[in-house]
């Protein structure tokens, strides 16, 4: 079970609470987690990744275990503590503007 934390605007959009919990298959990667997230909450399609290219949107970051994973390849395995559900996978709106 993977724990995902969304930025406030996307929580409101998806009408979810503080954390989303997802069951995903192995290996657990950014792509697998985001695919599962968008499958459960279709309204999030296009808000985190570009619909066409699958690229992370410019002002979105991915953090976990105090690491910035934003520029990791989308098919790289996520940290074991995320896979074990001990740490959340954080989707962050970059600090920019207001």
């Amino acid at each position: 079970m993977i724990r995902v934390v969304l930025p406030a605007h996307l929580k409101n959009l998806a009408r979810v609470g503080s954390e989303v919990r997802l069951e995903v298959g192995q290996p657990v990667t950014q792509r697998v987690v985001l695919d599962a997230l968008e499958e459960r909450y279709p309204v999030l399609r296009g808000t985190i990744r570009d619909r066409r290219t699958g690229q992370r949107r410019a002002f979105i970051r991915f953090y976990a275990c105090e690491e910035d994973l934003s520029n990791e390849p989308p098919d790289s395995p996520l940290p074991q503590r995320v896979v074990q559900g001990e740490e959340p996978f954080l989707v962050i709106g970059a600090m920019a503007g207001g």
Partner: protein
Amino acid sequence: MSSVRLLVGTRKGAFILTADGTRDKWEVTGPFFGGWEMYHVNGSPADPNRLYASQSSGWFGQLIQRSDDGGRTWEPVGNDFAYDGEPGEHLFYDGTARPFEFKRIWHLEPSRTDPDVVYAGGEDAALFRSADGGQNWQELPALRTHPSHPRWQPGAGGMCLHTIILDPADQDRMYVAISAAGAFRTDDAGASWLPINRGLRSGQIPDEDAEVGHCVHRLAMHPSRPDTLFMQKHWDVLRTDDAGGVWREVSGDLPTDFGFPIAVHAHEPETVYVVPITSDSLHYPPDGRLRVYRSRTGGEAWEPLTSGLPQSDCYVNVLRDAMTVDTLDPCGIYFGTTGGQVYGSADGGDTWSAIVRDLPAVLSVEVQVLP
């Protein structure tokens, strides 16, 4: 008695302002979608309870929201705006070619007859259509692929398709305007497009009367005269009486003919409103005085409307989609400012009052008259 509902899009959410037909006391609800840029909120003429809203953010991209109960509740609908085929390239600010890249929806124009049909004007310039209440969108690609498109370029706000006018007399005819490409007309429901910019002169482009490249800010039409259009261009106010065959300047005695919105009185097709702005480099009213100008002669002769509007120390702008008229008698006219005020006049512009003063910067104002 009829009631009036204003749909206000701002930089940080949408607001709905309601009043009875006297338009005296207003109730403000919102923000809806707080924190998001709401470029446009518009209602279906065929079903006033059907509203569409363009919700976007630099972080999270574009969404479309739909309400079926006049704005009490909303549901996100489709946000897949894909260019049909190869995106192609347009001219960029620095003179290089740049691929078309979808950024946001500026304007939503519901069909006059079918609440499920709605058109969307995008940046980078493209026209989309939905026939299922916004769930799915298809581009009408003949516009973006018009042979002139390599010469289209962005205005300061981006290369946006910001105006869509559906001809009330001919369901196959519509007009659009793009900054900075110009105005276009289709007579076959979007299968082909004709640039309609003859008569425009723009000193900001090398060939000032070129076929395309003009920074058209807004078009307006009175439904009883679908061949007559009024235009507020970057500089110049113009009109055409032959559906865009040729335009002539009607700036006349305006203090400045730079501005963004333009609107036509609901019952007087030769009564036109603009909000003059100092210049292309000074986007605020001349002398700090917010004045709407009205022409009762279809242009050329203009009178300032000042009663109830700030006449000193006012340095706001009024954006292109932020002025509208209602269909009551006397005609109501409304506009919103980048300072967050929404002003209304229930007497055709003779007197004004602030309906609300402290919203986020206003991007768009639409009005519905409800039975």
